[in-house]
Amino acid sequence: MLDVGRHPNIELLAYSEVEKVEGQAADFRVTVRRKARYVEEDKCTGCGACAEKCPTDVPDAFNEGLGTRKAIYNYFAQGIPSTHTIDADYCRQLNGKKCGICEKTCQADAINFDQEDRIIQLDVGAIIVAAGYDVFDPSLIPEYRYKEISNVVTAIEFERFLSASGPTGGHLDRPSDRAVQAEIVELEKRANKSQRALDKFEKKYEEGSGEFYENYKAGQYKDDEDYKKWADKYAGHLAIVETLNTLKRKAETFAVAKRLAFIQCVGSRDFRFYPFCSGYCCMHSIKEAIIAHEHDPETKSTIFGMDIRAVGKGFEEYKVRGGNKSGVSYMRGRVAEITGGPDNKPIVTYENTHERKVESREFDMVILATACAPTKGIFELAKILGIELNKYNFVKTSPQSPVDTSVPGIFVCGCAGSPMDVPESVAQASSAAGRAAEMVFQSQSEKEKAVA
């Protein structure tokens, strides 16, 4: 990413979309919309002071909505370019409220609330589609109860849980426990606030709230509005503190998730959704299970899959090592249902196909290995580019020309063409770049021939 940002031959147009493509191979004219960031690219140094001061919290898309970011933000810490962007949906200033704190904070004078989208034209010889994929939304599978049971998460969410820069700082705190912790923080804020209000009464009447309340209940101070307010406040405060203490006692029992279930083929190899195999998910689950075990050697993971497809270089060895050294076991079969158990512990029901028994097991957390879905924007992009998609809505290619699309001069690589893992994607990126160079070179030499 850094190399891309710094390469003299690469002009990086982030936060931009292709709107129109005209012409043909070796001579395309592309119209690009550069979306307004409300931050001047050439002035912003990416220092992040603005985001620190911004008062508006927004669900953090990079952390799968598990944490928050500010309304002025860099998509993630190492994002290239480091230029910040104002989220127009949330920014107070852009929504007519009084704010402008980022503008005052920015010492580089980069904030520009008047910035508008710009349309630019590019003349290019070849186009490479590397639009990637979307993660399948598992809430479409009712029997897995994603979103209903808080401790059922997707593999990509789990990736953020494992990350030191993620919402839990790399600890496997269960989402249900995190929700309680968040509630405690919220209740503490409310308790402090009501305490401050009580302090005022106590100061005014030079009496402790507890003592006052006893007397109030005993019938003193009748018909006095102010005393009534004090009494109501105190009763409310007691209720908050009681809930708070209950939650705190509960939180003392919280432990990190140690028994993990990974469910394979969630949306893949499933006729209701995507009949194909997404290719990379088996290895992704194995990797996550092994890393979870590195975090806490007491972690035990079970991977539920029809076939465990560990087909790349060193993959099978990795899988076996996971089983031998990292507490990973593999259960052949498809999970029928996930239900809620006591203490927010999900229960997985499946057929143990080798024992020919239907079994149920309780886990601390369940991770769904979701399918590689064609990216939503691909239909629009394919229309703009005039390229064909295959019946699964990946960009159509053939085994003999794996990176050529149906339009000469337009190439594809990575998961836009078919689900694949990192090494395959990196290799294909080089292939597509090579094909593009080959095509441009040939059309130039033809032109030269024509001139000669």
Partner: protein, 563 residues
């Protein structure tokens, strides 16, 4: 270069606020006052953002107006900003390697946000260390080397031919060396290609014609690489051909030597007649299967995913499914059973072919590797792991899916070209995820089943990809290397023990013989400056430019000295 006289050293220290990222947590006033008192420091300036246009012009102005000959920026990380500051120094006429960066943000203000005083003291230590090192810096010039605009491709299978055509179509001269007497490799022995069921020979014939007729491709069949010398841009290769040894220079080399099929001698009664491999099955299917064959049993993972060969060979499941479908097409009433551990039908096309095969009535039987199938005369006995019982399947033909194994020539080629192979004998790429088609050694690339078993789609993609990687030095015509490399600092001390040569991961060192002595020689363009050799040298003869022992020791001593 001769050491600069101590009094001539003029260091400028630029301390960056990074907005409030640094200035918000450290006492900047105190830092700059402190820096002013350090030895050789002529100028100290604070910038709001050293990397902004204003900051850069301050640095340039400082160099010119104060005649600075060393520049330090105390700011963020060299990972993102060192190139910018270096080039700014160069623009002001200062050798860019007389620049030193001190990271007082990521390594100081960000980690000590709550400790203003201690953080400020630590930043002082860091700046003092930087100044001590900077005083000893030496100017360096980038190393340039010409590239011979010619590519050697070893192996004329589908991956090698694809790579050859891709490079030749871009006007580069290509020499393709094939060991056999004809091109095509493994595909010559394959019947049809899944999932499209096109004839393998159509694909091969088309590519062979293109290769043989291409004006930029020189083809040597029945030939092999005998010896190699050199480094990126200048490889001297001896090719043994039918008409004698050809000595040719190359800029880059691609290894596309493919793989072999494991022959399962002694497994499941393999006899090459009734009990055969999938590759032998290809030949039978090409001829047309004997219509008398009614029952076929295929066994997966024969000789793979075991202790001897722990890897999954990736393509055998799809080959078995493809051949099973062709059997059903040739003899619709034939019963085909595939005994498997996991069906590795990854991706879109394979899974689709897998589903189609089930619709055609092909049976899949899961077996337990602890209770492998037993091949008897006319039958295969197997414990069906899912039904939990033994079954006996009639078998007129038993087809064993054996893995691709490393080519027998791989070891020899790896020794000649000094590139590594992995524990399974396949060539080992520079980085399994990020550089799948490069070797750690610059100028040598790999593709296809020489790297790891690959199907047609993958072999073609990798051939194109490796060609693309190789085309970078070819199209640039020269390689420029950052001069932070190893060099023989103390020639007399070198005893030519060869330890460094053996340790170098990049093949960048060699022992050179002169008339009466032997010394190590660093091949500049091949060296990556990792420092392995200098650390290991028992004589302390080798050193790394820009990270010389005395520079690092000076920084360490300054660090320990305290404020």
């Amino acid at each position: 270069m001769p050491d600069m006289k101590d009094e001539d050293i003029r260091i400028g220290v630029f301390i960056c606020h990074c907005g409030s990222n640094i200035a918000g947590y450290l006492d900047m006033e105190e830092l700059s006052e402190y820096a002013e008192k350090l030895p050789h420091v002529t100028l100290v300036q604070r910038n709001l953002y050293s990397c902004s246009e204003a900051g850069i012009s301050e640095i340039k102005k400082g160099i010119m107006e104060h005649d600075l000959n060393r520049v330090i920026v105390a700011s963020c990380t060299p990972r993102t900003h060192e190139p910018l500051f270096r080039s700014s120094c160069a623009e002001a006429g200062l050798n860019p390697f007389l620049f030193e960066m001190v990271n007082i943000r990521d390594q100081c203000s960000w980690v000590h946000m709550q400790e203003r005083e201690d953080g400020t003291n630590k930043a002082k230590d860091q700046i003092r260390m930087g100044v001590a090192k900077a005083a000893l810096l030496e100017p360096q010039e980038p190393i340039m080397s010409d590239v011979q605009i010619r590519a050697l491709i070893i192996g004329g299978g589908i991956s090698g031919m694809t790579a050859a055509l891709s490079l030749a179509n871009r006007g580069f001269e290509v020499v393709l060396v094939e060991k056999e007497n004809k091109l095509g490799g493994m595909l010559n022995r394959v019947n049809k290609l899944g999932p499209t069921m096109t004839d393998a020979s159509d694909l091969v014939d088309g590519k062979v014609l293109e290769v043989t007729e291409h004006p930029h491709i020189t083809l040597f069949t029945s030939a092999k690489v005998n010896a190699a010398q050199g480094f990126i841009g200048k490889y001297q290769i001896d090719i043994e051909t039918e008409s004698g040894i050809k000595k040719i220079d190359f800029g880059v080399i691609l290894i596309a030597t493919g793989a072999s099929v494991y022959t399962p001698e002694g497994l499941y009664g393999y006899d090459g007649q009734r009990i055969i491999t999938q590759l032998e099955m290809e030949r039978l299917l090409k001829k047309g299967l004997d219509p008398g064959i009614k029952n076929i049993v295929m066994i997966q993972c024969v000789g793979s995913r075991n202790e001897d060969r722990p890897y999954c060979s990736r393509i055998c499941c799809q080959t078995a499914v493809k051949n099973a479908i062709i059997v059903k097409d040739q003899i619709p009433e034939a019963k085909v059973s595939i005994l498997y551990r996991d069906m590795q039908m990854y991706g879109v096309e394979n899974e689709e072919m897998f589903r189609d095969s089930k619709a055609k009535g092909i049976r899949y039987i899961n077996y337990d590797p602890a209770r492998p199938p037993e091949v008897e005369s006319n039958h295969v006995r197997v414990y069906h792991a899912l039904l939990g019982r033994e079954m006996s399947l009639s078998a007129d033909l038993v087809v064993l899916s054996t893995p691709l194994i490393a080519h027998e020539d791989a070891t020899e080629i790896s020794q000649i070209l000094r590139v590594p192979i992995d524990e399974n004998g396949f060539f080992l790429e520079g980085h399994v995820k990020l550089r799948p088609l490069d070797f750690a050694t610059d100028g040598i690339f790999l593709c296809g089943s020489a790297r790891f078993p690959a199907n047609i789609r993958e072999a073609v993609a990798q051939g194109l990809g490796a060609a693309s990687r190789a085309s970078i030095p070819l199209s640039q015509g020269s390689v420029v290397v950052e001069p932070i490399i190893s060099f023989l600092a103390n020639e007399d001390a070198c005893i030519a023990c060869g330890l460094c040569v053996a340790l170098c991961p990049y093949g960048a060192l060699e022992i050179q013989k002169t008339a009466n002595e032997e010394k190590v020689h660093v091949i500049d363009v091949a060296c990556k400056g990792c420092g392995c050799c200098a650390a290991a040298c028992p004589q302390n003869a080798l050193d790394i430019n820009h990270f010389r022992d005395r520079q690092i020791f000076a920084a360490i001593e300054a660090g320990g000295a305290g404020a």
